[in-house]
Symmetry: C2
Subunit: 313 residues, 2 copies
């Protein structure tokens, strides 16, 4: 395993110069830098992360905290963050934690340079506390004073409702998300508002956990409302609905329009079904970008980014 001293020796410089050359500090003569880089390449030198971390006092590791991996909403966020982290020379580790208790992060906080916090539920205080020890970016939720990035699904759900009403749906159901979900509060308000403006009758069901089983369970209640269109909080709920509706012989979308995500609608060949299209990977990428700026001191905490969410179909 080649070592910085090996590189330095081959390049005919000292460890210090080699280090500076490889980190692009700019204090090295261009010609020398080239020589060092060439030597490193030739030897296949890879810096020892532990040594660097010890010397620099920071780890280059970012933790992304998600409540669970069993929800396909979170996984693209992780993938996006992962991709961007790699580009930035950072390493991403996934920590599964519901953030329902305080203090669980003290240990983790010492090991990482920053957090990406995905916490749809839970009290503001608890969530904000998790990000107190190290720079943090909150994903898909907003809390005053914390840097965050959200998919603007509230607006999208409003647009969706407006469109459904315009297409002739007079009774619409919104199946709400988990208890205490920040996004659910935003969406409920937006859907209510849009329905009122359009003169459609809106029923709000829930709260429902974002699971397939919850979608199945809520189906009777949805049918009982006599609505012709249903807008579920999450894709998993929508899938449960579609499955249960299938076993009951309800014709989708003729008898009932179910607005799940575009990929599902397309796969099933459902027509005339508008749906919102959240780009989870972009959420993850943006979050990582914001965190990188925070770490570099280019940003102060508190910046809030909002990603537009298109309505398709």
């Amino acid at each position: 395993m080649p070592d910085l001293s090996d590189v330095a020796a081959v390049a005919g410089v000292s460890k210090a110069t080699a280090s500076r050359a490889l980190n692009g500090s700019g204090l090295v003569a261009a010609e020398t830098a080239v020589r060092v880089v060439a030597a490193a390449a030739r030897l296949g030198y890879v810096p020892n992360r532990a040594a660097r971390e010890l010397a620099r006092g920071r780890s280059g590791i970012i933790a992304i905290v998600v409540p669970t991996l069993d929800n396909t909403f979170f996984t693209p966020i992780i993938a996006g963050a992962q991709a961007r982290a790699e580009e930035a020379g950072l390493q991403l580790t996934v920590a599964v934690h519901p953030l329902d208790s305080a203090g669980a992060f003290d240990r983790l906080a010492r090991q990482v340079d920053g957090f990406l916090v995905v916490a749809p539920r839970g009290s503001d205080t608890l969530v904000a506390g998790s990000g107190a020890a190290k720079p943090a970016v909150l994903v898909d939720r907003e809390i005053d004073g914390m840097t965050s990035v959200v998919a603007d699904t509230a607006t999208a759900f409003g647009t969706l409702t407006t469109r459904l009403a315009a297409e002739g749906h007079e009774r619409i159901v919104y199946v709400g998300g988990p208890e205490g979900s920040w996004q659910d509060r935003q969406r409920t308000a937006a859907v209510h508002d849009a329905a009122r403006r359009a003169g459609a009758e809106l029923t709000v069901l829930g709260p429902c956990p974002a699971t397939f089983a919850a979608g199945v369970e809520v189906t009777s209640a949805v049918l009982d409302t006599g609505a012709t269109a249903v807008v579920p909080y999450a894709t998993s709920i929508g899938l449960g609905l579609l499955l249960a509706l299938g076993t009951r012989g309800v014709d989708v979308p003729r008898d009932l329009v179910v607005s799940t995500e575009p990929t599902v609608i397309e796969a099933l060949g459902l027509e005339h079904t508008p749906a919102i299209d959240v780009d989870g990977e972009e959420l993850g990428r943006t979050a990582m970008d914001l965190l990188a700026r925070l770490l570099d001191g280019q940003d102060e905490p508190g910046r809030q980014a909002r990603l537009p969410v298109p309505v398709r179909g």
Copy 2:
């Protein structure tokens, strides 16, 4: 931030002794050890991982390599491995990589102590190569010479087929998994064998990617066979089937039994539907256990564990 010297000072011993006491090396007098541990607790001492890693020459980090996060088969494996890693004082990082090209792991290999490799597809050579640099445990697949743990779904699929045949199904369809999948090969063989013994007619469809959309797409072909029972390779394919069958008015399970996972069957209230029940978390836990033994030198590479898979319903 308290430091090992701080702990040592408070306990009235040297850094060396403090280090030994905290790591339970057994060369410290019991009384001294108690004093050091108490001092560490009182100061809230947390060892600096980088320093430890540098001194010890190993990182305490394990990477779990998965082809994608979008498949709910993998996520419980990660969760299980994560839990067990934490218990063992190891840190788990998730690396998303399809393992379709060689050499992509050299960089990662230098940063971690070992790998958990989840690679359902891809050539044996490529997969084995990924685990060559550091101790590795292959998950849900077997390759000669590599330590591995698999869920014995082959046997379970066989049992399932036998049971379906015994319940009167004379025509059964197996919807195969992705091209090149190791488990698919095992399952196909087992299903074939069981069907032949039971005198049932078996059609094998596929290959199919383990996605919801693939399940939808394959539905016509399944119906065309005239089978009364279908056994899909993956839960996602089963879900796609169920959805598409619903939109076509096929009564499940009266006209066609779809054997997806027990939780789905239970949620939908389907009766008389046997299904296999893979415990992904246990797979992850066992894999991590095996890797820990490998790292400790308690095991030689090559040990192959097989987890029984129950058939429910």
